[in-house]
Structure formats: structure tokens, C-alpha cells
């Protein structure tokens, strides 16, 4: 690759690329994102390459190894262009047939298409698949078109045109103004207006100034930043460079967690290729603007994602938040003005510069513009990464995109915002999802985690899970966060074990309010959210635990009780034989009985009791109904009579 010395040369380079690719009429995008990679999608891509070569088709049909396509549970995925036909769970053995049918004779391989349960039909194209239909993949969509290891793909898709445009036709202030006008808010948690933060760094005294990408992404279950960085690293780099130009910085950092192996593999390649093309380094495109970027691998602590902690980590110190009341945008890395934004925030910037702030403002709600990528997981039928315009309702995400609740269970709550987010109940399903609406109901956007919970979820148990996570992931330096979480954790433990008292609920609320006010950083200030939001909407569940010793969702082991209905038991003996603690007694024709003293609540009896008998029930708690006397014979069933 030769260095591009001007904006004109960049344009020429792109035209040459497009001309070279004119002969390619069809292409196959095989997802090699983390999910599909684990399903061995590389073998599928290999098989495509081999098959096309053998048939002499490799000149006209391209195979692209791309980043994540979002519908990870159905991987490995292959998308056929130009028809946008989507094949799921593709195996190397399927490849010859796909080439033969779809690429050579425009026929579909039905069994690999998405099956829509609602209509009973298979969907061929992306736009027909409910999971994708409602999405608007303005940020994520390029993942289909780009192999992250080839800068040419990004360039062919229009990459670096925003940078070229900014450097040649806009002043730094113009760029800043455009981003300000766009209303872009930070995608990493707080939703702080990006333009305002840039402005702060730009105007803060001190040189040099730094720009930083936050790719720490520590929320359990979240992987949108990972997928963007793995699949389209140049979009993040281009955004970062635009930000650097706007705030007057020549040095950037990407703080990425060590566990993100594909991102860590692809990023240096992307940086190297950008350098070779002269898009990074000195005097970029001959415009006088110079910029370099360094990758910093984080050790993976959740708290290191907090801005001041992250900067300490880059400086080589322990990644813990600092107590000062001065923002990192003013005094950050090595006490210099440092503008930190999230991966997704940066990836939006080239789009804004290319399409204009008006375009961006046309997406979303009054206070939250653009789209947001969510990691939709939990008890929905279709899980994965979804990008929707801000303002789409929770119901649309859960039911239309996610396909509704698995196994026809009832919806109970959706947890948003990561570990310090909150649980939103059914009554708010029609809430338009944006920064402000989520805050209003006691949750938050966070970085975009969406965990759907059904009726079999115990909300006290959920609060305990997130509280335990935060108790371990807090840095532990300030008393309110550390000791507050220690006590919350202990109280929740007691409640789920049937040792709670009504007064505990008030203590939890008091602790929550205290932690919010007194903690040193945002981790502690928001750490009570899981407890406070579940107490707010699901207090009855807490009360059932502390007042009646019951877990209504039948989750908390120390409370629930297994019981064999003497009228239904047929003495088949299955439960008795499989009980790991020999807690079940019975014999031929004798009603089986559970010894509650010996029962460890593993639920085996409940699972193995044949469905046609369904004699074992799982009760929410309280004392078990008195067992029948040992020796009671089973009720005889007349032939043909149902029970």
C-alpha cells in the first residue's frame, strides 16, 4: 500500500478499489465474530473459499470474513449478497449446496433459513426476519460489508471519507459544532453530551491533550463494544481522529480489556494498515494534522472502566477511581485534558460528519438522538445484539425483535443498564427506550444491556446476584461502597435463606440512599440500584420472603418445598431411585413421601416425575403439607380414566 498524500489521492484510491471490485457481483459474508467464531465459523469460511476456487468462481464471488452479525445464538451465519439472504447454523458440509443452489442458480437452501414461529414460514432475506426487521443498523450494519483485517473493505464502504472531509473542508470548531448539534450522547453509561465534553477538553488549559476510547466493557453479558471493535475497528479509529482534530489532540489511547482476543488481534492490524496508508501518523493526507494512537490492554476489572480509574491504569497505576472533584476532561491522563468516550460513541462520529447532524437528529427522541446497540439476552426467544433508534419501546424489543418469552412463560421484568442498572416491570413495557425515560423509572441506559426475565425469576435473587457482582468488583477503597455492599449482600443472603425480617427492607433502602450520596465514584453511587429498583417494583416478593418465608418464583432453595401429591402418585419409583440423598421413601403401590429433613431441594424429583403423572410439586415455601402415613397405597386408576 502506498501512502496517500492528499484528500484527492484518497478519493482516487477509493475509486480504484471500487473499479477493481466491479467484477465481483456476489459475495458471502461469513461472521467471524466471537459468537460465530466459537461455533467454528472459520471452517465455514474456509469451505466457501475452497469450493469457489475448485469451481473457478473465486474471481467473481468474494468471501468476506466479517465481524459480528448480531444474531449470535444462530451462528455460524453467512449472508449472501446482493440478495441479503441469511443462512443460519451453517456447517462446512452445507457449503457446496449453498454455492450450487443459491450462488449459481438463485435457489434457496430452505433448511438453513430462519423459521418464523409466528407465521410458520421461513424467511429468506434479512428484511423479512423479525429479529432484523425492526432494527436500524446504522452503526452496526457495516460489519456485514467489512473484513476487519482489510482496510480496503472499510475504504470501499466509504471509510475515512468523514476524516478527509473534516480535514479538508472543516475547521476543528466546525467538527465540534456538528457533533454538538447532533445531540450525540455518550453510549458508555452516563449519556453525557459528547460535544459538551469535547468542548471542555478543547478549552481546558494544558498541553498535550488526549483522546481515549473506553473499551473496558465490563458488564456481564454485554458485548456490543467488543463486536464493534472486532468487526469495524476503523470506524472507531476514524471517530477518534475526528474527535482529536476537534479538541486539538495528537495522541489517542484505546483502553481495551485483555480478554477481547479478537479485538486485540484486529486493532493493531487496523492501526498498522491505517499508518501504511498515511491515515495515521505525521501530516495526515498532507493536511498538517498528525495523530497517533496506542493500545492499552486492561486487566479486566469492571471498575477500571470508570473514567479516572481507566486513566490511572493507562498511567501504569492501579486502576482505581480518584476522589477529586475535577473532571478528567479538564485534568485526566497525566493531569492533562483528556476526552474519554465509549467505543460506540466514537463509532457514531464519522456517520455524523458524513451525513450531517440533521440526519442524526432525525433518528431518536427529543432528548436522545441516534440509535443504540443493545445486548438482548435472557428469557427471550431470539437473543443477540440489536441496534434500534432511540425511542423504540421495550415491548417492541422484547416481543417483536426478541420474539417474546421463551417456553410461553410470562414476562416479569427487563433489567437494563448493566450491573448497576435497574429492573423494569411489565407496566412500563411501552416505555420508549432512551436515556431520560429509563432514568425516570429508576433504571438507566448504561452501556445497553437488556436482560429479559420471566415469571420463574426471583427478583430478590436477581438483586442478590448483581449486588454480589458489585461487592466483588468495587475497588473497595471508600467505606460507603465497600461496607454498604458488604451489608446489602449479607442482608439479601439472609432474606433468600428465610432469615430476613421486615425491618431489613427499610435498612436496605436507607443503605441505598446513603451509598448514592456518600460514595466516592459512580460505581458506589449507583451500586444500590438493583436493590432499590426491585424494592420499588417487586416489594411484594421481598415481603413474601421475609413475612411468609416464601419465594413466589420458587427459586430460593432454602425456602421452597417439594411435595408429592398422594392422589397423583402412582408409585412408579422414578423419583425415589434418582433422589441423591435418599430422602424419598415408598415402595410398590405405596404413595411416595419426601423426608423434608433430608431433602436438599435439588429438584430432581420434580424434573423426573413423568409428565403424565405430575405428582411432584414445587411449592413457594412455608411448611409442606403434612405427608400421608407411610404405607398408604396409591389410588388405583380405572382403565381409560384420566387423573
Amino acid at each position: 500500500m502506498k501512502k496517500l498524500k492528499s484528500v484527492v489521492e484518497l478519493k482516487q484510491f477509493r475509486e480504484e478499489l471500487l473499479a477493481e471490485r466491479k467484477g465481483i457481483k456476489k459475495s458471502i459474508a461469513v461472521c467471524e465474530g466471537t459468537g460465530c467464531h466459537a461455533y467454528k465459523s472459520s471452517a465455514v469460511a474456509d469451505a466457501f473459499e475452497k469450493e469457489l476456487k475448485q469451481r473457478g468462481l473465486d474471481a467473481g464471488i468474494a468471501v468476506r470474513r466479517t465481524g459480528c452479525h448480531g444474531f449470535c445464538e444462530r451462528g455460524p451465519m453467512a449472508k449472501i449478497f446482493p440478495q441479503k439472504i441469511f443462512y443460519f447454523q451453517v456447517k462446512p458440509e452445507d457449503v457446496a449446496e449453498i454455492v450450487e443452489s443459491t450462488l449459481l442458480s438463485d435457489k434457496l437452501v430452505e433448511r438453513l433459513l430462519f423459521f418464523d414461529e409466528k407465521t410458520g414460514k421461513r424467511c429468506a432475506c434479512q428484511d423479512e426476519i423479525p429479529f432484523y426487521k425492526l432494527q436500524d443498523q446504522v452503526v452496526f450494519g457495516n460489519n456485514f460489508l467489512i473484513s476487519p483485517k482489510h482496510i480496503e473493505d472499510y475504504m470501499a464502504a466509504g471509510g475515512y471519507s468523514a476524516l478527509a472531509r473534516a480535514l479538508s473542508t472543516m475547521t476543528p470548531l466546525d467538527v465540534l459544532e456538528e457533533v454538538k448539534k447532533s445531540g450525540l450522547r455518550g453510549r458508555g453509561g452516563g449519556g453525557f453530551p459528547a460535544g459538551l465534553k469535547w468542548d471542555t477538553t478543547r478549552n481546558a488549559p494544558g498541553e498535550p491533550k488526549y483522546v481515549i476510547v473506553n473499551a473496558d466493557e465490563g458488564d456481564p453479558g454485554a458485548y456490543m463494544d467488543r463486536s464493534l471493535l472486532e468487526g469495524n475497528p476503523h470506524s472507531v479509529l476514524e471517530g477518534l481522529m475526528l474527535g482529536a482534530y476537534a479538541v486539538g489532540s495528537n495522541q489517542g489511547f484505546i483502553y481495551v480489556r485483555q480478554e477481547y482476543s479478537i479485538a486485540i488481534e484486529n486493532l493493531p492490524i487496523a492501526i498498522e494498515q491505517a499508518k501504511q496508508l498515511g491515515l495515521l501518523g505525521e501530516n495526515i493526507l498532507g493536511t498538517g494534522f498528525s495523530f497517533d494512537v496506542t493500545i492499552h490492554q486492561g486487566a479486566g476489572a469492571f471498575v477500571s472502566g470508570e473514567s479516572s480509574a481507566l486513566m490511572s491504569a493507562i498511567e501504569g497505576r492501579v486502576g482505581e477511581p480518584r476522589p477529586k472533584y475535577i473532571r478528567t476532561a479538564v485534568r485526566g491522563l497525566w493531569d492533562k485534558p483528556s476526552n474519554l468516550n465509549n467505543v460506540e460513541t466514537w463509532a457514531n462520529v464519522p456517520l455524523i460528519i458524513n451525513n450531517g447532524s440533521d440526519w442524526f437528529r432525525s433518528l431518536g427522541t427529543q432528548g436522545s438522538k441516534g440509535t443504540k446497540i443493545f445486548s438482548l439476552v435472557g428469557k427471550v426467544k431470539c437473543t443477540g445484539l440489536v441496534e434500534v433508534p432511540m425511542g423504540v419501546t421495550l415491548r417492541q424489543i422484547v416481543y417483536d425483535i426478541g420474539g417474546g418469552i421463551r417456553n410461553d412463560r410470562k414476562f416479569k421484568a427487563v433489567q437494563t443498564g448493566g450491573p448497576s442498572g435497574g429492573c423494569i416491570p411489565e407496566q412500563y413495557l411501552d416505555l420508549p427506550v432512551d436515556f431520560d425515560e429509563l432514568s425516570k423509572v429508576g433504571s438507566m441506559m448504561g452501556s445497553g444491556g437488556l436482560i429479559v426475565m420471566d415469571e420463574d425469576t426471583c427478583m430478590v435473587d436477581v438483586a442478590k446476584y448483581f449486588t454480589n457482582f458489585l461487592a466483588q468488583e468495587s475497588c473497595g477503597k471508600c467505606v460507603p461502597c465497600r461496607e454498604g455492599l458488604r451489608q446489602m449482600k449479607r442482608i439479601l443472603q439472609n432474606i433468600t435463606r428465610g432469615k430476613g425480617a421486615e425491618a431489613d427492607l427499610n435498612t436496605l433502602e436507607e443503605l441505598g440512599a446513603f451509598m448514592k450520596e456518600a460514595s466516592l465514584c459512580a460505581l458506589g453511587q449507583t451500586a444500590a440500584n438493583p436493590v432499590l429498583s426491585t424494592l420499588r417494583y417487586f416489594r411484594n416478593e421481598y415481603e413474601a420472603h421475609v413475612l411468609h418465608g416464601q419465594c413466589p418464583a420458587r427459586v430460593c432453595r432454602d425456602l421452597i418445598v417439594f411435595y408429592i401429591d398422594p392422589l397423583k402418585c402412582t408409585a412408579c419409583g422414578t423419583c425415589r431411585k434418582q433422589c441423591p440423598t435418599d430422602a424419598i421413601s415408598g415402595d410398590k403401590k405405596l404413595v411416595h413421601i419426601i423426608d423434608q429433613e433430608k431433602c436438599i431441594k435439588c429438584g430432581t424429583c420434580f424434573q423426573v416425575c413423568p409428565a403424565r403423572f405430575s405428582a411432584v410439586s414445587r411449592l413457594p415455601g412455608g411448611p409442606a403439607p403434612a405427608p400421608v402415613a407411610y404405607g398408604t397405597t396409591v389410588v388405583q386408576k380405572a382403565k381409560g380414566e384420566s387423573r
Binding site: 468488583e473 473497595g476 477503597k477 467505606v479 465497600r482
Partner: protein
Amino acid sequence: MKTVTLKINGLEVSAREGASVLDAARAAGFDIPTLCSHEELEPAGVCRFCMVEITRGTKSRLVASCVYPVENGLEVQTESDRVKKIRRMLIELLLPVAPSGPIGALAKRYGVEKSRFELDNPGQAPANCSLCGLCVRYCEQIGGGDAVGFLGRGVSRKVALMPDKGDECVFCRKCYSICNSGRFVEMAEVFPDQP
């Protein structure tokens, strides 16, 4: 030297620009309790006892006064109800963890008779350490080594003599005397090799 004028508990006070609200208040004779502050060390802002209520215009909020710089026109309350509530909760939380140190006296001062909280396991002995970090920070900032440090994070955080940094110890013994709760004397029993 530039000075700044602010109001602390209704009293007009002037302080050097860049000074902390804590220092300004103490210089004016107000007794703000702290565990983690020490005149020889950089402020850490971790014990949160020094939180005070500040008002600017109509907005008021709580800040850790040891790391909050004085500002012209700032109004500070060092013992407002909001502040006292925070301190009482801090005391309640630390009583089970570090009963031997200064918490007892603070409990008296703020009228906390007993704590609602307990250690994780019944019968567990208190660590008697509030993790104020004075020992760690002294070692790092003045002692010149990292012989004393924090191990673990979150609720597992502990102060420890770092096993692999023993040779950085200059035997100043300040970690013994600086400790709020006499815990380092106990640790000396655990590490009898330390001179």
C-alpha cells in the same frame, strides 16, 4: 498568595486558593472527623467522614471536604442533619469491622448506640481495620516503598505486608504508629521476622 473567602457554618473564613475545605474549616476551629486524612499525606477521600454540605445558589450537595477545594462564595455546613446522617451510617457500618479504633469515640459523639450490621459470619473476629490506608499511603508517599499495600478488591480488600516487596521496607515503623486502630502491632505478631 491568592486568598478565597467562603462561609463555614455561617462564619466568614478566608483560605489560601487551592486549599481544601477540610483544611479551611479546621483552621477556623471546626472539628471535622476523619480517618484517612493525615497532614503529611495526600488526601485520599476514602473514609467519607469529612463529608460536608455545600451550597452554591439554591443547590446543595455533599462533598468530601478533604478533596474539595475552597471557592469564593461557597457556603459550607459541617454538621448539618444531612451530614450527621451520613456520619452515623458510616459509624454503624464500621462498628462491626473496626470496633477498636476511633469509631467508638465517634459513635459517642454522634449518638450511635449500636449498629444494625454484622460481619459476614457469626463469631468472625473483626479485622479491626477500616482500610483507611494511612499505612499504605505513608509507605508509598514517604516511606519510599510499597512494602505495605492493599490486596484484593471490593469486600475482599485487605491491608498486607506485601510478601514480594519486603526488601522495599526501610523499617521506618511509621505504619505501626500511624495506624488508627493499632492493627499493625497485631500484624507484627504475625510477621515476627520484621524487626
